[in-house]
Each structure stands twice: as C-alpha cells, then as structure tokens.
Amino acid sequence: MIPSQWSRVLVAVAVLGLLAVPNPAGSAQATPRDVLIFGATSDVETMDPQVSVDNIAWRAIYYNYDRLVQLKGGTTEVAPQLAESWTISPDGKTFTFRLRTGVKFTDGTPLDASAVAASFTRLFKMGKGAAGLWDGILDASGITVVNASTIRFTLKTPFAPFLGSLATDQASIVSPGVMKHETGGDLGQAWLSGNSAGSGPFFLKEWRRGERIVLERNPNYWGPKPALRQVVIRNIPDAAVLRDLLERGEVDLGEVLTDDQIDAIKGKPGITVFEAPSFLATYLYLNNRNRYLENVKVRQAISYAVDYQGIIQGVRKGRAVQMRGPIPQGMAGHDKTLFQYTRNLTRARQLLAEAGHPQGFELGLLIDPGVREWADIATIVQANLAEVGIRVKIEGYARPTMRAKLDKADFDMATGFWTPDYPDADMFTWFWFYSKNGGLAGNRSFYSNPRMDQLVVAQRQEPDLAKRMQMFRQIQKIAVDDAVYVYLHQPVYRIAMRNRVQGYVYNPMLLFMPNFSGISKAP
C-alpha cells in the first residue's frame, strides 16, 4: 500500500467534507433588508436601451433610466415623469413637453431639452431594433429644442398612441455623456452595452456576465427614494434550481418558472404567487406566400384543426385564455362578440377538400427549439394537423437564423410571441396586418389586403375614439375571417416571491419588469 499518498487523499477528502456542512440558520437565509435578490433564468445581452429588443432583458435596464412619461401604477394611463406637462396640437402631430428642471444624469450631465434631443437622435441614428417603434412616425428631423426646458416633437403623421410609446424602454433618456466613450463611430454602443447612463432611481453598479447584475440606488435621484438600496439579479438558468432557492428563501423574487413549478410551490410557507392576465399574444404565423397557405380556405382549415384547449392545457396547464382575434382581451378595442375558431375536424377536412387538397400536403413549422413552449406547441400542432392530412415537419433553428428566415419569408408556418410596447391596439393591428410591414417588422404572415391596409393606416391617425373603435371592429373581423394567423392564447402571467417582498405592483405593459423602485422587504 502507499500510506503517504492515501493519507494525503484522506486529508483532502476530510477538508472538503467539512465544507459540505450546510449553511447555518438553515433556510430563509437572511439577506439584508434593503437588498433584493432576484433570480433570473435568462441573461442580459446588452444594457443599451436604444439597442435592446429583449423584453426580459429590459428588467435590468428600465429602472436605470427615466422617460418623458411613465405609466401610472398598474394601469396603462400615462402620467408625467421627466416631462411635467405637455400640449398637443389640434392636428395631433406636434407634442410640446415642459421638462422638469434640476435633474442630472448619474454621470453629472444636466438633463435638459438638448440632452433629450441628443438621446432621441442617437436612437434614430443607430437605427437598431429599438428604433422601429417610431418607423414612419418620427425621426431626428422632427425633434426641436425650443429652450432649455422645452422640447417639441413634430410627427410625420398623427399617431394616437404616441404618448404611450414614450413610456417604453426604447424611449429611455440616455445621457449625452455616452459619446465620451465612443469608439470607431459606434455612438458609444460598446461602452453602453455594459454600463448605464441614465437618471433613473437605480444605476448599474456591477455586471459579472453569466453571474450577476447589481443595480444600486441612485443617491441623487430627483424622485421618490426607492426602499431598496440594491437589486442583485442572479443568473440561474436552471428553473428547477431557482424554484428551490425560492423555497429556501435564498432568493426573494424570481422568474421565469414553469407552470408546473409554480403550482408546486404555491401555498408553500413563505411563498406568494401573483397571477394576472397578460397581453402576451401566442400565435402562429401562416406565410401567405406559401402556395397552400395563400388560399384562405386552407388557413381556415388549419384554424379549425388546431386544438386550442389542448395547447392551453399541455403548455400552460390551463393558465391561459384562448385569443379571440388579434387584439388581446383587456385591451381597448377588443371585440368580445368576435367569432372564435374551435377545434372542428369535420369542418377542417371539408374546407381542405373545397380548397382542392383532400389528400393533404406538407408544411414546415419553424421554431427556435430553445424556447420550450414553442417546441411543445409545435409538437401538438403537428399532431393536430396530421389528423386532417397535413404533414407538418418541425424545423428548429437558432434564434438569429429563425429571425433571418422570418424576415425573408423563408418558412411556411412559425410560432411567435408578441407583447405590446405601448398600451394601444395599434400594436396588434398596424404591425400585424399592414402589407408594408412584412417580415420582422410585424406582418409575419406577409398578408396583403388593400382594404385592411386602408383600415390599419386610418386607425392610427383617427382622433375620434368612437370612429377608431369602429375601425378596430372591422379590422378584427377581416383578421379572423381571413384567418391571417392562428390566434392561440394569452397566458396568465405568474410570478413567485417570498412573503417579505412588499409593494409589488403588476403592470401588463411592463411584463417581466417588476417595479424595483416601489418594492420593499418586510423584516
């Protein structure tokens, strides 16, 4: 035997064994009262609000910045933030904002009208995904600095949801100081992707990629002081581990957990589960340029063949409501009397026969297999359509490739999510149905209908509310009759937290962005 070598091994094992003793004070490990530990299952790619189009990443960005307006509490009502007041011209094209004075960015630059102008100019100049919200509405030439505390936006066309659009993450006011970090004409993108330069209640203190993001309270914030001194967003990609840490109290608040996991911890001691309807539209794109899908009867057949309730049960454990047309329930403009497809295989087969395809045919279904929901929806749809003779082939691609194919109409069917950036049904109509928005811009079915075009453009500019609602009714009817998309469901938003987390307010427009500035922890 070799005692000396073995004894070395034994000593090592013993030392390591000592370390395996669990933390003292068992569960509910006390983290300081003014620090919130947030468990996130996905990481952030960039912290630049004028680049990022990742809804989930916005949670780490939103509260580092202010915007001209904000959403009041949990509502979709617009309230002042950096702008104290505003006037709108009668033609609806000119918005003049009076800015709050005495506000400074965290880098010391004063926040005045020229800073606001510089921020929006940067947004439009970079032309990244975030700028798409104001395509055709506003560009750099429409921004005028009237005086140090007054700024004017002149829109190209009237745009009813404009005010609401200024409360989005993309409309965050970024300090002109980022230009000091510009390299190679990137307008400071490389620097801002890893830093914050805002005037918000928090700022980015530290970011260890793949590990944690630390947001710290802005000591010079002009608004109400947040109860939390720090928000630590920990990267925990394994939802099962996150669920466990929540149960033990090592994490205060976390998402995204699966419905199974939330059901499992609901009712456990110390855990609160918050639930509310959301505007997250889950739907299927039907490429109207495909030789089968261009026939409306085929699209209707597919709409009759899909098992909506089965998908809701299988993918969301019943915590979702079937969509009734493109405008989600809860949003002004939604038509409760609209026709809703339900599973009817006989009707589906009949329609296919009428369309001239009684034997069925083949279709591809494009997904990003990394999104578990999409993989599951695709599997169920594949089985559903097989029953009427349509053979579906699931095509999984990495997200960037999937997006590239979507943009080029290089697919047959695809799965999709869509959330409204501003609280207006325009988000689910103009983007989804306007023929010029084909591809990633929003019209992912590449639908083209002159009557529909006319309606969706008109509703944007219509100041009269009653007339506008009438237009939405017409839009929804065409959208459903023409089965442009397969409208699946809107899930119930659910988030789990420890009881000691207080002051959480849900805003359906700020999905995945808990209100860190208002949250506090009870002792």
Binding site: I2, T46, G132, D238, T401
Partner: protein, 346 residues
C-alpha cells in the same frame, strides 16, 4: 537503448525547432479551418450585426466595414492580420470585443479545470498504482468500475443527479453559480474566487467559493479519471514485470522502495502524456459542467455563443480553445522529449 541522456545541445535544439515549426503549421491550418467554418454560417453577418431595423445603407456600410464585400482570400488575410493584433472581432450578442468576453470568462474555467486536474492527479495516480499492485483483486475491480463508469456516464445526466441528491434532497451543497446568493465576490486579484478569497482573508467568500467548487469539480474530475488510472495501471504493470524490478526484489529491497524509486518514476513518463491529454478531456467536460452549474466560464460563454450563432464569438472561442489545447500538448511533447531521451532521436 542509447547511452545516457547527456546534454547534446544540437540534437535537443533540433528537436525543439522541429516541434515548434510543426506547431505553427498546425495552427495555421486551424486558423484556415476555423475561418471556413465561420463563413458557412447561414445568415448575413452584417444584417445580424446591424439589427433588423437597419436601413439598407447602414447594412451596406457595415458590410464594407466588415470586409464582407471582398474576396475570400482577402478576407482571410484581414482575419489573420486582425488576429495577430489580438483582435478577435466584436461579439454580436454582447457588442463587445470577443477578446474581452473571453478574458472575462477565462478565470472561471481556469479555476474549474485546474482544480479538477489536481483531483485527477491526486486521486488517479494512487488509484492506478493500487490497481496495478492489487491486480485482479477487489481494489483493481473497484478502480476498473470507477474508470469505466466515468467514461460511460453521460456527463449531463450525472451532473443533474448530483444536483438532485446533494442540493435538492440533502441540501448539503449549492446547485448553481460560484457563490451564495448574498455573498459578495472577493476583491479581484486573479479572478479565481477561492484563491482571491484566501489572499484577501475573506473567509465567508472562501467558504462559499469552495462549497460551490465542490460539485462541479467532482463531476469534471470523475469523468476524466479513467484514462489516467488506466495508463498508470498498465505502465506500472509493464514495469513491475520487467527484469530490473525482479532483480531489485531478489536483492531484498523493500517493496515500497521499489514501487517509489523505480516503478512509479518510470511509469510517470507515459502518464505525463495522458495528463496533458486530460486537459483536453477537461475542457470538453467543462462544456456540459459549466452549463449545468451555470458556471460562468469560457465553455458557458461558448455554448451561449453557439446557440445564438454569434459567429465572431464562435470563431474566437474555437481558436482560443484550440490554442490552449495544442499548447498543452506541445508542452507535454517537449517535456516528454526532455524526460525520455529516446524520443529525441526519432
């Protein structure tokens, strides 16, 4: 066998030179291969970089800036030129230079693989010796089982089981990350949390870091043990059967003395090679280990980049890992050449 390993500079230098030249050649091939892979990525890199909203002018400008409108050989030349300057391109995902991303994630992987390598050496060598000495008896069978299970078990599955048992059920060890939720990382020195914590006498961080290292290192070392144990065992067996050992035994020397002075030292020579190759196994095992434990190292970054098709990062990671891997092999070869004079005259 040739005469004693006298220091004969011309031969040694010749060997060194040849080996290094070979390395350069191989690495050039690696570069070209990686470059070709990067250009088979579907999708337009300029479009990906600019984003879906960008106007055609911006995309065209970006294409020009990225050199995508030039011919393939010219692009290769630009690529090599930038590489020599340390410029691995800009990650589409993080908008930062890839070299910066890699540098940030490197310490975590280094900590993990080095700790695992230490365990492999400290446990693997004695286990191999024990197997050889106790051939075909219980310890031998046990180590064979450990070795075989190590290479047969799916790493990802074993990792999930470890987390399930030690974290979920027993609650003894953490299941994710490098530190506990509320613990601050130690003052940065090397980026190796355990080392930095020790250096800074940050005992809370040290304990947290070591506890978080335990399971990933256990997983990674377990699946890398087999080759080392096998090699030590077979080398020892071969040597123990040789004439000079029998002579030593006949002379009445103590068994332990024989084992150490003669057998083990000579058995270590091929073992060195295997340890060098282990580093390759460790790097690959790190891919799944870091993914399962959310250990933010290079492998974790690699998987994220590949999933995202962030092709500059994909190339950067592939190159860097090839560089590390082949450098380790080079060192082992050189060391082998120094230690075993027979190789030099090949």
């Amino acid at each position: 066998m040739r005469s004693s390993p006298a220091r004969a500079p011309p031969f040694m230098a010749h060997f060194l030179a040849r080996r290094l030249l070979l390395q350069v050649l191989v690495f050039t091939g690696v570069l070209i291969l990686t470059f070709l892979i990067s250009h088979s990525v579907p999708g337009d890199p300029a479009l990906l970089r600019a984003g879906p909203r960008a106007s055609p002018e911006i995309i065209a400008q970006l294409r020009h800036d990225m050199g995508l409108d030039r011919s393939l050989p010219v692009q290769l030349w630009i690529y090599v030129r930038d590489l020599l300057r340390g410029d691995l391109g800009v990650s589409i995902r993080t908008q930062r230079p890839v070299i910066q991303d890699v540098a940030e994630h490197f310490p975590a992987t280094f900590e993990l693989t080095t700790a695992a390598l230490l365990v492999v050496i400290v446990v693997g060598i004695p286990l191999g010796v024990l197997s050889a000495v106790q051939k075909d008896r219980f310890p031998d069978h046990l180590s064979r089982v450990i070795a075989i299970s190590g290479v047969s078990l799916p790493v990802f599955w074993l990792g999930l089981m470890l987390i399930y048992v030690f974290f979920v059920r027993l609650g003894w060890l953490p299941g994710t990350g490098r530190l506990d939720m509320g613990v601050e990382p130690p003052a940065a020195l090397t980026g190796l949390y355990a080392f930095d914590a020790l250096a800074g006498r940050d005992w809370a961080a040290l304990r947290s870091a070591l506890r978080h290292l335990f399971l990933p290192v256990l997983l990674l070392s377990y699946v890398s043990l087999a080759p080392v144990v096998r090699m030590v065992r077979s080398s020892m067996l071969e040597i123990l059967g040789q004439d000079y050992i029998r002579t030593a035994r006949a002379k009445g020397l103590a068994e332990r003395f024989i084992l150490y002075r003669h057998a083990l030292r000579n058995a270590l020579i091929p073992t060195l090679t295997i340890i060098g190759l282990s580093y390759g196994t460790l790097l690959q095992g790190a891919v799944v280990t870091e993914t399962i434990f959310a250990w933010p190292g290079m492998a974790y970054y690699a998987v994220g980049s590949m999933t995202y098709l962030d092709y500059p990062a994909v190339i950067g990671i592939t190159l860097v890992s090839a560089l590390i891997y082949s450098t380790v092999n080079l060192l082992v070869d050189l060391l082998y050449g120094v230690v075993d004079p027979r190789i030099r005259y090949d």
